[in-house]
Symmetry: D2
Subunit: 149 residues, 4 copies
């Protein structure tokens, strides 16, 4: 399986994503970033319930709270737009990582979002190493990315 | 093309759909109903921008405000659940219709939503007949449904 | 304290409540209904954390899942509108109740929502009686309502 | 009127703000930042409909699209938490500004968000100077802030 199989996702903009300015509301784009990440994990083969609480599994022993997010908006995104979301995960240290989402329409960048997570032990709430599954997903994803020399 | 091609949709529950009770937040389900309807129109061949404002087309001359919605929740829906959404559109009179969404997980009903729209002229804001595209979609959809004798 | 102190709430429509039709998105109104109910409990003197999970207290031993909701939309609601939300709680049986939200702008009804809950034991997931706090809030609220003969 | 009258806002965390991790979902916090800004403008005396589209006024001739947002999350925020949101607007150049939201609970920083806007002519979509109202609000707000030497 090629990395692009789980790192390049598609999404069509829906009516509820818009606001009265007639374009996508800025918050919706951050939502897409998280949802694209969830879809990526799933396609890579990780069951959502082993990573996030709220699934049918036992809640995972490591939580991944978000400590930072940012986004840049380059061009208006409209209802019905067919978007491509390219994910670039990056490990920051033993216990944290970020996922960048490049959002394109017709090969043009329209937005870019970043969500940064730290790993904490779900019981002690203390920092810990990333869960194995996330580590494997980051490694496999980085192999698939063209690395500049 | 068989009607089920555009009336039976799939959706995976995402983390942002949940609340602190650990299950899907009730509002999310009404959002899925509208989004499933949009996807159905698109699959049937109707460009979203000809039906909803906020797209890249000229805004449509007929608006379809929602006058009623309701939903019943039968079983908790959890993050990661793979759902099937079956749409049943029904014309109510010359200028109004409703779309019922039957939501299932593993062939079990988990929720059912209904959204009711009226057609109004976008300028005069007066009631009018349904847009042609919606009329065709309803007719084609009803043909595809098994009608009890 | 007069019942209207906790049953009549105010809300200003925000930009994120709107969609590209230029008016409030239908889902937002159901959100207001639940939030108005939470505010009402708080004003009445019930700590949210004793009723809903996700607070700083121990999670409550009785959960109140939503089994039904419905809403009617009578007039467009716009950004900046100052709304009044009047709550009418009603016990349905020993273990279920509904809260109706009448939403007005300038003394005109613009929308009406209803959310119906059942009480279940949080561990066994079996139906049980309403939590004491909710029972007191319903009783006190009904005393404050003018009952037609 | 003291600047803090319109720059220091209160908000109680609602159930719909949470996710299955049992704490506030990260997207909700960005929503609060925008809504706090809207409330601030309103308290300062600017009608929302003169600044944002979707109100009862004619749509404003200058639009304020968001070009960037970011947020840092320091401590979990839970349902029922009473928060204080302190706004710090800052003009970036003749046609852009940002609003920083410091979010506190019990005098402790729990999150900080930033939303950056540019002014564009609503018809030509070209960059222009800030609307007068926003300029006055920024100036008045900066007067009210304690400036370090």
């Amino acid at each position: 399986m090629n990395a692009t199989d789980w790192l390049q996702l598609s999404r069509t903009v829906r009516f509820s994503d818009t606001d009265a300015a007639g374009v996508v509301h800025f918050q919706a784009i951050l939502g897409w970033c998280h949802q694209a990440w969830e879809e990526s994990l799933e396609r890579y083969g990780l069951d959502a319930g082993t990573i996030f609480p709220g699934g049918r599994n036992e809640p995972p022993s490591i939580a991944l709270p978000i400590v930072h997010c940012d986004a840049n908006f380059r061009a208006p995104v409209l209802m019905g737009d067919a978007l491509t979301i390219r994910l670039q995960p990056r490990r920051l240290d033993l216990g944290s990582f970020e996922v960048i989402s490049q959002i394109q329409r017709d090969q043009q960048d329209v937005a870019r979002g970043c969500i940064r997570h730290v790993a904490i032990d779900a019981n002690s709430r203390r920092r810990c190493e990333l869960p194995d599954g996330i580590e494997r997903w980051i490694e496999a994803s980085c192999l698939g990315q063209i690395q500049p020399l």
